[in-house]
């Protein structure tokens, strides 16, 4: 029997995305952009319902970034360099964190290997098209944020009509620099440490890159008061070490401001971007193929276990007081599962560690604020300490939210099949795993950093207002039974709604940090804690009640 030709006609109107494309690079670029916008998996969705996809969420993100970009209006009376330093620092933060958090999944997706690795496409084409898509989406985000800044730069008192031109070019360079840097880090690690350790390395690289992007973006605005606006006066040395300042220098140079310093920074921006792209896509692209093949290998190595054959996490759960805390067998099973994934699963780790990195940056900024000296230094250090506490309080919520997503999400149907009334026990087991695996070490690390490096030992108490919110925040993801571990597709993790949630949490953090710092300074701290305790107690009771009533969310 042979395959027969028939009269069935494929209509032209639908499924046209890839029709007519025969250049594999263009096909791949369309493919990865489509996958990025729609997400890589769906459950029972008809195409016409696709607005639940990433693209609609991305729309919200763009609106959010656009609104946030209105802050550029406050720079109307400043210099071009100061405006650009702010815009590039924030762009560096958004784009850098976006690329660092997306790159692992986009560049090294195991499922994708079975679909594409046996097709006639080169590793270089795969790498380049994926990077192009990352840069493209980065530029959308950067464009939305910088839109107001472009107008401000052209119309400000000391601005120039050349500013928008320079800023567009520098923003494109910045996006390429951020993306290239992350890819370069992956390639270098592959080359230096070998593919055997790729899984661990990817996590380390991602966390390192995220922390680096956040630090460089956060430090620049804070050193701005100490450097000139590049109008010929004293230029702080710090700007030469901060990439966002290089791109700001480019804007100043194109706008005819800042003299040789600006041109020097502009030259650095061009040279660094060129060098990073050349190394990442030219010199080391061959290593990418090796990394992809590594993902296709079946690992025969077993995770370490003790003499009894039990994992140490399992043994930990059987020790008092954990054994008592986990006396419910369903919670215990969920705890063990969550703990294993937090410890071993590359996919979960790649999302979790970069997300909690900002928690560790606050103490660093607190130390930086204190060591800088000056009249506002002590206050600044106290606010950052309080911020650190609030971030700690919310870190549990972040961890639990991230643990919901997995590439193996379909396996969680097992929980629905089990004879268990609702999802709360699974949520609680995961919540407890987050507390043990993440929160205890984080609290210890942040506490030690604050205690060792700040001038006033009592200042560590400023962590308390934030830490007291931890029980409430840790139960919030459980309210609708959403915190069932590994139960949602990994692609859903990229959600603008989550981004809006983070903004809300950030606003709350600011209010709590400032009010607790003022209370601390004025001697009302004990009273403040007492009031907070009552509020937190009420909220905790409400959240617990809602979580206990949760039913299984419907399968879409």
């Amino acid at each position: 029997m042979s395959v027969q030709s028939t009269s069935v006609v494929v209509p032209d109107g639908r499924g046209r995305s890839f029709g007519g494309e025969t250049d594999s690079t263009r096909v791949l670029r369309r493919l990865f952009l489509t996958l990025f916008l729609r997400g890589r998996s769906s459950r029972g969705l008809n195409r016409k319902w696709a607005p639940k996809s990433i693209s609609s969420r991305l729309g919200w993100s763009l609106i959010f970034y656009g609104v946030f970009g209105l802050t550029a209006l406050t720079f109307l009376r400043g210099s071009v360099f100061v405006l650009s330093a702010f815009l590039h620092a924030m762009t560096f933060f958004f784009v850098g964190v976006f690329v660092a958090s997306s790159a692992g999944e986009v560049l090294f997706n195991q499922l994708e290997n079975d679909i594409l690795l046996h097709r006639p496409v080169t590793a270089r084409a795969l790498l380049w098209t994926k990077i192009t898509v990352l840069i493209q989406v980065s530029l959308w985000l950067a464009g939305a944020f910088n839109l107001t800044g472009l107008i401000v730069g052209a119309s400000m008192e000391r601005g120039s009509l050349w500013y928008p031109v320079g800023h567009v070019i520098s923003t494109v360079m910045e996006a390429m620099f951020c993306t290239g840097s992350v890819v370069l880090l992956y390639q270098l690690c592959l080359r230096w440490f070998g593919r055997e350790r790729l899984d661990g390395l990817m996590t380390t690289v991602q966390v390192g890159a995220t922390v680096g992007f956040i630090l460089m973006a956060q430090i620049l605005p804070r050193v701005m008061p100490y450097i000139s606006d590049l109008d010929g006066a004293d230029t702080g040395r710090a700007v030469w070490f901060l990439p966002p300042a290089w791109f700001a220098g480019f804007d100043a140079a194109i706008s005819g401001q800042g003299g040789w310093d600006a041109w020097g920074l502009a030259g650095l921006a061009i040279a660094a971007t060129g060098a990073v792209l050349w190394a990442a896509f030219g010199r080391l692209a061959g290593d990418y193929n090796e990394g992809l093949q590594r993902l296709s290998e079946t690992s025969l190595a077993r995770p370490a276990s003790g003499k009894s054959g039990r994992r140490w996490s399992d043994r930990l759960a059987s020790l008092f007081p954990l054994s008592w805390w986990l006396r419910d067998p369903v919670e215990r099973a969920s705890f063990t599962l969550s703990f294993a994934y937090l410890l071993r699963d590359r996919d979960v780790k790649l999302r979790l560690y970069p997300a909690i990195a900002p928690v560790l940056i606050m103490p660093v900024l607190a130390v930086f604020g204190f060591s800088r000296g000056g009249p506002g230094a002590a206050m600044s250090a106290m606010v950052y300490t309080a911020f650190g506490g609030v971030f700690l309080g919310q870190a549990s919520m972040t961890g639990l939210t991230i643990l919901q997503f997995s590439q193996q999400w379909q396996a969680s149907d097992l929980f629905r099949l089990a004879p268990v009334a609702g999802p709360v026990q699974f949520c609680n087991g995961a919540r407890k795993a987050i507390q043990v695996f993440m929160m205890i070490p984080l609290v210890l690390i942040v506490g030690l950093m604050i205690a060792r490096n700040n001038g006033e030992p009592a200042q560590i108490l400023l962590l308390l207002p934030g830490l007291m919110t931890l029980p409430v925040f840790s139960w919030i993801p459980c309210i609708k039974g959403r915190a069932v571990p590994l139960s949602r597709p990994a692609e859903d993790a990229r959600s603008a709604r989550r981004g809006l949630g983070i903004v809300f949490a950030l606003l709350l953090s600011m209010v709590l940090s400032w009010t607790s710092t003022i209370a601390f300074q004025r001697g009302w701290f004990i009273g403040f804690l007492a009031v907070e305790l009552v509020i937190v107690g009420i909220l905790y009771a409400l959240v617990r009640r809602a979580a206990n009533r949760a039913v299984w969310p419907s399968i879409e």
């Binding site: 029997m1 042979s2 395959v3 027969q4 030709s5 028939t6 069935v8 006609v9 494929v10 209509p11 639908r14 499924g15 995305s17 890839f18 029709g19 007519g20 494309e21 025969t22 594999s24 096909v27 791949l28 369309r30 493919l31 489509t34 996958l35 729609r38 997400g39 890589r40 998996s41 769906s42 459950r43 029972g44 969705l45 008809n46 195409r47 016409k48 696709a50 996809s53 499922l111 994708e112 290997n113 079975d114 679909i115 594409l116 690795l117 046996h118 097709r119 006639p120 496409v121 080169t122 055997e196 090796e290 093949q293 296709s296 290998e297 079946t298 690992s299 025969l300 190595a301 692609e491």
Partner: protein, 283 residues
């Protein structure tokens, strides 16, 4: 579909008698001492065999024998640690892209991009092989009819919403769309209903008769016995047996390929163990 399936089955019965017909044809696949190690463990150990064009080879082995690893190496997805291989005359290591251009592969995972519609997915695959749009659509039409795919579903639903069988049909279509001379199937019948499975078996026999080389890895041994001209059995990465199924069964006096397989791979005790295990369910 049933009438066509019956025709197909009748035709298939004649085709099965064609054992050894391809002997003497130019080799389409040459595997020489192919080796793959994962850390200290050897997954494939100096495996060598040759497959002439137009032959259907059953590639068998117990779980963990190295079948999928071998297929991944031969499709350019994994780099071997030693040995060499040629597919359609192209060296696997130096002409990897040419090898990939001349093969089709249905992986065991049946992975697809779930957020594309079936049609989008197939058009994407066609474009990767440089098939012009009109020709791709013509090929897709042929497969739509052959597999009895719902056209509405193919154009309107994302692959994530497909049944397992539908998805498998799309994956098989994507492996054959560019008309490759060599096709590797890793558990291709997984998820297919009985009619589709019968149609598929007839399809691969027809493909072989037209000169295509088929490497067919499966655990469903009676299908392998009926469809394949030859079987290669490996265990622990090493070649155990290689020959025509009837000849091997006769030589080892096993009765069926399944018995031969269990004899060779240590599964002979399974029935007794199953009976013992069943006793543990008695209250």
């Amino acid at each position: 579909m049933s009438e066509r399936v019956m025709d197909t089955m009748n035709q298939s019965a004649q085709d099965i008698a064609r054992v050894g017909e391809n002997a003497g044809k130019a080799p389409s696949i040459i595997v020489d001492a192919l080796t793959k190690r994962f850390g200290g463990q050897v997954a494939v150990d100096r495996l060598s065999f040759t497959v002439p064009a137009g032959q259907i080879v059953g590639f068998l082995g117990p779980n963990g024998a190295g079948k999928s690893t071998t297929l991944k190496m031969l499709t350019g997805m994994l780099q071997p640690n030693g040995g060499s291989a040629k597919v359609c005359g192209y060296d696997l290591l130096s002409d990897t892209i040419e090898v990939k251009r001349h093969i089709g592969f249905v992986p065991e995972s049946g992975a697809v991009f779930e957020s594309l519609t079936g049609l989008e997915y197939l058009e994407m695959v066609a474009a990767l092989y440089g098939i012009p749009s009109a020709a791709a659509r013509e090929r897709i039409q042929q497969f739509i009819v052959f597999f009895d795919l719902s056209f509405q579903t193919l154009t309107d639903k994302l692959l994530g919403a497909y049944s397992k069988g539908m998805r498998r049909k799309v994956v098989i279509t994507s492996a054959l769309l560019h008309n490759p001379p060599v096709v590797f199937f890793d558990e291709p019948l997984d998820g297919l209903d009985a009619n589709a499975a019968v149609g598929f078996k007839a399809l691969i026999q027809t493909l072989a008769r037209e000169g295509k080389t088929i490497i067919y890895s499966s655990h469903i041994l009676d299908v392998v016995e009926r469809v394949c001209d030859r079987v290669i059995i490996i265990d622990k990465g090493r070649l155990l047996l290689d020959g025509a199924p009837e000849a091997l069964v006769a030589e080892h006096n096993s009765g069926t390929l399944e018995h031969l397989f269990t004899q060779l791979t240590g599964g002979a005790e399974l029935e007794r163990r199953a009976a013992d295990f069943a006793k543990t369910f008695r209250s």
